[in-house]
Symmetry: D3
Subunit: 286 residues, 6 copies
């Protein structure tokens, strides 16, 4: 899990939302303190509370955290209790909710896929891809990890993954050989679309075989073909492409190790959270 | 429409995806030029092509644009044709696709809502909210505009919008009066949840009444109440909360001017696009 | 009023003033604490104290604030009392004084114009323009607000303002119609230079008519023409161009709502403030 | 003279003025090319044209420069001729004019002081101070140089200047001795307010004596005292404090080498320039 | 190899070297073009030419490259030929030479180690560590790669490497088990200081065993112990600590796969290069 | 000495080392506090402790500093004692050590040269050059100062230094005259390679004569030639080029004032420091 998202990244989001301040609060809100709560409005796995907390605290708001990132929450559950300058709370509100909403949406979907697979095929892992929001990769990957998924590659600098577009330029065996020679530290993964290529990649020395856009029955064929050649134990088998939360278990039981899903981060449903100023508990002017 | 997304913002996304370069290309791809195409894999409204193009061109890749941002495209349609250094194309690939995928997803959903409303209630507008991805507001708002929607407020600095949390701290009439006094340039909008408050806000001088989380029948009541007092023509009536693509037309025919939907930008389904290196048309080494 | 100018913006100014540290202090000042005061050297409205305070506190200097931003001060009046590391006080000195000097200069001039108009024509407002120092808009606009003026547009993204250069490209009525259609949230203002165009703009539906570079008598004509057509109450009337602190009241009594003055921010007279280290009250070495 | 102001600094100013684009142009201006001119509206010394030109060219506008930075211009004189996308010209307009307006204002005032002194006391130089706009020092100093002035210290890291606040903490002779010992490369200047201290500073080995806030007759006394002790030729004599464009020559003829004036940069009168789109010469749509 | 070091990173180095321009050139160099050459002054492997070239070209200087990065050069050999504005060449000179000097220094030392090992023990690799200059990792790692070395981990986010400080907190077997469970994509390396721990790490499932601070004879013992248990082929064996260019071959022949050396990047000897303006071939004024 | 290196510069180094967090700690280290020490492993002059301390404290680790920057330390000596979250200590470890290692390496070498010269020729100073690591100049110059050296020019904006490449474009006397005229504040230094040019530069009015690449005997000749013409006392004499720690004293006794050495910063040997987590003193979980 990624523990540190720098405060200055978070502050840039507030500046994006209020480049010249909050004209509404400035116009109508007097100088006073108030209390507020951030509540979950649905069931899910919460994430982004650490980031929201850091933001509120930066602006001098006292925060009491009632749920840990990565845990399941129920509708109505209070996530954060806030106490401080009313204008500060209103300034940070939307940025904090946008972060919690996106990260919890990712964590919730990831957890749901992880649970589905755990029952169908214990030991099979759910992984993310690089299909994250531009500029938000560290948030998206952290949310996947909090949901119980594997973040997979962080970037093109991490790991060697030979894809169809590489193979349009370089023959498979040649590509794997060069990749192996290039680094002893980085895992070499090869994306293939046929049983034959899966075997060829394993024989060439790939660490991980990524079966892309193959239906579950073809995936079984590929796994059997690897077993028949004594290659299955030497490689990790990953599948991707066309996998959805609905058809997930079909892939999970096909004999693979990992299922990677772009949809975890490229098609996020916002988790519903809201901030409520507590009426009547406003305190004396600052 | 927003025409300018600065190149250095786009370049930071490439650096996020390759902080130390692309280890795969470096290991296996020789120095050669190739051609590639970016294709739509589904029906929708495309967006983000201008940004993708600027990125590829920055890295010396020649780009031929086959579709305009904001236009409808069909599955299989070529959006961009690319010709240049193979490593440069592969370096930018994922960033470009992530931008096009998200922006086209937003534009497509927006267009779909706009079309639904156009048939049910011509003249009613679809607007976005501030529930955008942190750091990506300019992209998200541009995509809404390309889809035919109204970007609404860009930030807290734009416009005065008095919401429930403000009203927990300041009485409605007082809030509107202060807001009016604060600026002659900025529109004053008030969010209300009851018919009575809708009328009170209009009487207090709000430019826009935002009916929040009210079912269509209550919205009709509010509109009628405004009409009965001769206030309807003096205000813009907006609705938000619980509006989905499915129940949208019910709100549209309730007599309102604008429907604002957080889901346009907070719960984006990625538009499916892919980049394919054209096998066999690689050109002579650079 | 804009409440938040991010600390990192302020710190960049100190780095501009000491990219490799303060060679004088490093050479001659021993490690010791001292007390110092920042004093006004003339009469005016002070601004920038919040920013100066944040800077000194960042460098560990204790600050006692003796005057509030936006209030009138007299020559010799102590604005900030400082107690801390002598080198830190000297490092921040010039940056703090430059901020206070510029912002107080703007606030003072704004207040002076506001007061002049208040007597001549109560209810008429003084507004700024976008003629601010590049990179300092948030400071300049905040200073205008502290002086009692209206910040007007923050940027080209805020509000629709159709000027002479637009009208060289698009006919007036066409421009207003397109502007109205483009957004229901943003005010539409039109700059005109003749009585006829003022009427045409109001008839076309502009919210605000900006009478530019017209002498007071022509402005009266324009106001009367609007009244004659029953349009005066439907629009805000603003004047700009050739307005100075000297001729201001002539415009104020011409029947307008707002007078906007580029000179508030483009031609600032520095407000005279200075920092004095208190001799003899240096404390024991740190 | 400073030749290079990085383009990214300039682009940040455009982003400040249009964080989400130009809503007016987007709403009403069609895709077409046009011609425009930037003209001086008064007499003065122009500066900032290189920066304005770099900005327009960055946005694809062709620029023809009709006057060189640092030269005198007359009212009505065309400074820059522009030809390009109308929206691009309008996007950059205000930023370019703000830069030219401030820099030319500084250059004009500097030149005026330089000329006044040249006649009264040839060989006496006019210098700026560190009282520049926060974040704009490189612009302000360049404008001073273009006006014929000496930029003086760029920052606290440049040069050793012992001021009253240092002398409140360290005895004068001690301070100069330490400063001399600290560096052989950096000039050592000492600010004094009495004739005795002027002599003491020169005897202690200062390179430059800054006579601060002394009337011309006292300055003559100080110069004579230095001469009497054979110290005058070993030091540069600078004056500052209470010097204005009006009383400047009184100081110039008092026997000094340099007059430094905070007002050159802290109280800038904007030089009046404007951009005019040429009606009727719009070209065919892009 | 890392192909892309962003131009804005390079430009920041020029700004560091000339925050307010080059006062020498501004004072004495007229506007003219000249030719210059960058020459190697010693034997070595050159690196950083691509970066230097990008910088000169950014400032409008034409560049002819006479040697490829990563190739051996001889004293006196011309690396880059330059033709352009004299002030631009002098502005970039030191930054370009500092980059080439450091990167070539690293590449040269790396190549020397690689060659020494190639003769003594073909197949053994030389790798870098994270002991790079803060802020310059991408440069340092690229230079290692150009010298023929392996860049090893780019950062703490790349790969799992369990070191002595981790083992002070978590038992070895437990640490390896958790590491294995955490990711299927990232290599797991364990640093050990005894033969027993080397075996334990391999048995626990580490991919790479890093023998730290062990003399060659103990390294042989560790390799033999791994062989005796049939573990040698399942792991990569790396050594580090106390390895110098002088004692390198002793380690190379001890049966290991990789030797990683902090000294490649933490103790760099600058490669001697210089820029010479060609006297007499200055061209006509610009 | 430079006292302030901004925290955000330091934090960027940690982000460089852990863009997506520390995958090792995340995988295997539980939430617990521990104690650790940073120790010197050799004799030298320590530097960078202030920077390391600021970093650890930023991440919530309590720091006890046992040695002052700029003081001599012995092998095994504890420099910093740390107490805090184990993951935070491990996150900052390498960045802190890289900073201390480089800065102490520079300070140690500088001190060694300073001491050698102090014995051979008291009063002669050791100075650095602009041959620093790109992006790290403020660190490198501070380390030189802590070692007792003179930082010399910080940048091209500081001081006028006329070098061989300038003299290829402008005759010497002309160059010095223009330089003198350009500024009264900046020292004028001229680099020469012959006795004749040394005399010519001094006669032309240079403040400092830099004898470049001349052997000690020629340097003596130059000093004598200056003395013979009564110029020696009017100039500072500096030597550079081919000076090493070994041959340093030969130059020191040749009658010069300053010896500047690029090698102080361009060829740094890392000072050996390490961080050790104290086994057994880990505290209860956080």
């Amino acid at each position: 899990m990624i523990s540190v998202i720098p405060l200055d990244t978070l502050l840039r989001f507030v500046e994006e939302d209020a480049p010249w301040g909050d004209v509404t609060s400035a116009a109508i809100v007097p100088d006073l303190s108030c209390q507020a709560v951030i509540r979950a409005n649905e069931t899910g796995v919460v994430a982004g509370l650490a980031e929201a907390r850091a933001l509120f605290e930066h602006y001098g708001v006292a925060v009491r955290q009632h749920a840990a990132d990565g845990t399941a929450v129920a509708p109505g559950q209070v996530l954060l209790g806030l106490d401080g300058d009313a204008k500060a709370i209103l300034l940070v509100e939307r940025t904090a909710l946008n972060i919690i909403g996106r990260m919890s949406g990712i964590a919730t979907k990831t957890r749901s896929c992880v649970e589905a697979v755990r029952q169908a095929a214990p030991g099979v892992r759910i992984a993310a891809t690089r299909k994250t929001c531009p500029g938000l990769r560290v948030f998206d990957k952290k949310a996947v990890a909090l949901g119980g998924g594997d973040p997979h590659r962080y970037s093109l600098s991490d790991m060697i993954l030979i894809k169809d577009n590489h193979l349009a330029l370089v023959p498979l065996a040649d590509a794997v050989r060069k990749a192996r020679a290039a680094s002893v530290y980085r895992t070499v993964e090869v994306e293939v679309e046929t049983v034959e290529d899966a075997v060829a990649a394993a024989e060439a020395g790939a660490d991980t075989i990524l079966l892309d856009n193959m239906p579950p029955e073809r995936i079984r064929d590929a796994v059997r073909a690897l077993e028949a050649r004594g290659l299955r134990d030497r490689v990790v088998v990953e599948v991707s492409g066309s996998v959805t939360e609905e058809n997930l278990t079909g892939y999970a039981v096909a004999g693979v190790d990992i299922i990677s899903m772009g949809a975890l981060t490229h098609s996020v449903r916002n988790f519903d959270v809201s901030l409520k100023v507590l009426r009547g508990v406003t305190t004396v002017p600052l």
